[in-house]
């Protein structure tokens, strides 16, 4: 179980959010919504441990993530609003290195299957990522989710730049992750087509 307790965060002098307490249970998704600049990305980065909260704590299985450190990092997959991929490398190389760094020494076939799952055909696999469109680059970044065996996924605007087909691939994969007891926190502007009983919303206001 993943929890935030009375979490407050600010950027510079500006208070972004305060006193946020939410619980994400296995099999559920928390959609963080709000207008631009409301602090969704900061909230997500805080949940990853990349940003320190002003007040409050973030608990993973009842323990403060600041104490768990690397043990907590090993439980999560984060895809930020930056793709975290290298333009000079091919999609296959990007995913192979990512998988190696995540501790999943995936075979080339597994990586290729992950890319195919997000709708990137074999001809694209060998191209440098820099020649791909923004949507295709986003798909490469999201393909990491198909390689991830971690229970907690933190996704910042995962649907940005995606077409309808890729959105449906991702939604189905999120549903599959939730059905296996996974947890997802998504910062998004759009409605996610998932059963309402497994989705809770957190609205941040400016």
């Amino acid at each position: 179980m993943f929890q935030t307790v009375a979490l407050s965060g600010s950027r510079g002098e500006r208070l972004l959010f305060s006193d946020i307490s939410v619980t994400v249970k296995p099999g559920s998704l928390l959609a963080v919504v709000g207008e631009n600049g409301s602090g969704k990305t900061s909230f997500l980065r805080m949940l990853c441990g990349l940003l320190s909260p002003d007040k409050g704590t973030i608990l993973w299985q009842g323990k403060d993530i600041r104490q768990l450190k690397e043990l907590y990092s090993a439980q999560l997959t984060y895809i930020g609003h930056l793709n975290g991929i290298k333009d000079e490398l091919t999609p296959v190389e990007n995913l192979t290195v990512s998988a190696c760094l995540a501790g999943d020494e995936s075979a080339r076939e597994v990586v290729q299957k992950a890319l195919e799952a997000v709708g990137l055909g074999r001809p694209v696999h060998r191209l440098p990522t820099r020649v791909l469109s923004q949507g295709q680059k986003r798909r490469v970044a999201l393909a990491r989710l198909w390689l991830s065996t971690r229970p907690l996924w933190l996704l910042d605007e995962p649907f940005a730049s995606l077409d309808v087909t890729a959105t449906s691939y991702l939604t189905r994969h999120l549903q599959s992750h939730l059905s296996h007891g996974g947890m997802v926190v998504v910062a998004t502007h759009q409605e996610i087509d998932l059963p309402s009983d497994c989705v809770q919303h957190l609205r941040l206001t400016r």
Partner: protein
């Protein structure tokens, strides 16, 4: 749950950086080209007097190596910062200081090692004897990783700032000076027939000290830069 071992994480970081260097061959070649050109122009500018060339050799070659390292420091973290790879690196479930060692090692392989390997050839242009060439190579072998390690602190501290190139130079140059003095001093002592062991030992101490301290300081600076 998947968690990379320390060696897997280290291997992954080094592998990615070396792969990127292979794709950016011109960047790597530029550092090497800079060293070769500067070291080759000096004898032409100063004149063919062997005694003068031998006298300036250690200083010229060491300053050239130092500047080559400084020039390449901008590449160390900036690209990773801009494309979000650094964020992902911070979330690798292994101590960040160890991953920084991997980044610095790759930087040294790309920018320092070619200088070390070329140094005997460059030293020949200055009329250095066989023994002095050996001391030059050994001093650079100990000194260039130290420069990369110290430089990483500066690169991390100035990450995301405007005019970071100049700031890095201002921050790290004073810390480079002892390495420069001990490194150039080792070659000068060797030429003068005085033993260079003391200077090489001091360079070794600098290397060990920077190895113990710099990755940790760099990791802290990177976390601050990403806050």
């Amino acid at each position: 749950m998947s968690q990379p071992s320390l060696s897997e994480a280290l291997r992954g970081v080094v592998r990615r950086d070396l792969l990127l260097a292979m794709r950016h061959r011109s960047d790597v070649a530029m550092s090497v080209f800079f060293v070769v050109i500067v070291a080759s122009l000096f004898p032409l500018g100063v004149g063919p007097e062997p005694a003068v060339l031998r006298m300036i050799a250690s200083g010229v070659l060491w300053v050239t190596a130092l500047l080559a390292c400084l020039l390449s420091l901008g590449r160390l973290f900036t690209a990773d910062y801009l494309d979000g790879v650094l964020e992902q690196t911070l979330l690798i479930p292994q101590p960040l200081a160890v991953l920084v060692v991997g980044k610095v090692f790759s930087h040294w392989v790309i920018s320092g090692l070619p200088v070390v390997l070329l140094s005997p050839l460059l030293g020949l242009q200055f009329g250095l004897s066989g023994e002095s060439l050996g001391v030059l190579t050994l001093s650079l072998l100990l000194g260039t990783p130290t420069l990369s390690m110290i430089g990483a602190i500066g690169a991390a501290l100035t990450l995301g700032l405007r005019g970071s190139g100049l700031l890095v130079a201002l921050l790290v140059l004073p810390l480079f000076i002892p390495v420069l003095i001990f490194g150039a001093g080792a070659v000068t002592n060797s030429l003068a027939g005085i033993g260079s062991e003391a200077n090489l030992s001091l360079l070794g101490a600098c290397f060990l000290f920077s190895f113990a301290f710099a990755p940790w300081a760099t990791a802290v600076a990177l976390r601050i830069a990403l806050e």
